[in-house]
């Protein structure tokens, strides 16, 4: 394996805030996933998590540079399974995580509040997720084991 999570070896991708660019970005997740021979269904999960993170940045961040920055790393924790890590970073206005209400099927089906599932989907589909957000922007670091 010639790509690792030590920082030196990583693939970075910058996309403009523009319709459908999230799908163009999923191609990179798929290519890196295939590179480590991650099963197709797991790659699909990474792709959807990445899509959700990108459309959040597109919709909510108002990034000062009009871009979303992605970094892909593969690594292995000790002797554990290999993983694919995706970082999605925007230089936007950030948000207060404590103010985000957890969505539920009940709320979704009873009322007008159908949105609000993006972060929940990301957490459910990935094996670990770390979000840091401030006035400088938002960074989502998510990892999926092979």
């Amino acid at each position: 394996m010639s790509l690792d999570a030590t920082g030196a070896r990583e693939i970075s991708l910058t996309i403009p805030v523009a319709p459908d660019m999230e799908i163009v970005a999923t191609a990179q997740a798929a290519a890196v996933g295939e590179f480590i021979e991650m099963p197709r269904d797991k790659i699909d999960e990474v792709k959807l998590a990445l899509v959700e993170a990108c459309i959040n940045a597109f919709e909510h961040a108002h990034a000062r540079d009009g871009r979303v920055h992605l970094t892909f790393r593969v690594g292995r924790e000790g002797d554990a399974r290999e993983f694919l890590e995706v970082e999605v970073l925007d230089q936007g206005r950030g948000f207060d995580q404590t103010a985000i209400e957890t969505p539920s099927a009940e709320k979704t089906f009873s009322g007008r509040q159908k949105r609000g599932w993006g972060l929940q989907i990301i957490r459910s589909l990935m094996d670990s997720v770390a979000i840091s957000s401030s006035e400088g922007g938002t960074r989502i670091l998510m990892r999926k084991y092979k």
């Binding site: 459908d20 191609a27 699909d44 459309i55 089906f109 159908k114 949105r115 599932w117």
Partner: protein, 117 residues
């Protein structure tokens, strides 16, 4: 992987079968909704959504599918999904769609299930 989600429709009696091809985002979701509502207007009582050729549905797309489902339930109609990839199936379960709509592996099973006896 094309950006445009194509939606093909087929009508069998009072069942409308909509088959998607490609990424379901807001536009894709809205196209499905448009075709679904037009079939409901013209007398369809049940909808089958075949997502066999779709590998990604984002949360905005799903929220529109939920609106379609609600409209169908309001009219006491039926809606069934088929051809879901494991990831889409998982996402539908996360969002609770699976509690309100039936999910079948194949189109023929879905059509059989929603057809009037």
């Amino acid at each position: 992987m094309s950006e445009v989600c194509r939606v093909a429709a087929e009508r069998r009696g009072d069942v409308a079968i909509l088959s998607t091809d490609g990424y379901i985002n807001n536009q894709g979701g809205e196209e499905i909704a448009r075709q679904a509502y037009s079939h409901l207007e013209s007398g369809a009582r049940a909808l089958v959504l075949n997502l066999e050729k779709t590998r990604i549905v984002n949360s905005i797309g799903i929220s529109i599918l939920i609106e379609v489902l609600e409209k169908v339930m309001d009219r006491k109609g039926k809606l069934a999904f088929c051809g879901l990839t494991p990831t889409i199936d998982k996402t539908f379960r996360i969002m609770g769609l699976a509690q309100y709509a039936a999910i079948y592996p194949t189109e023929s099973e879905a059509v059989r299930a929603v057809s009037s006896p």
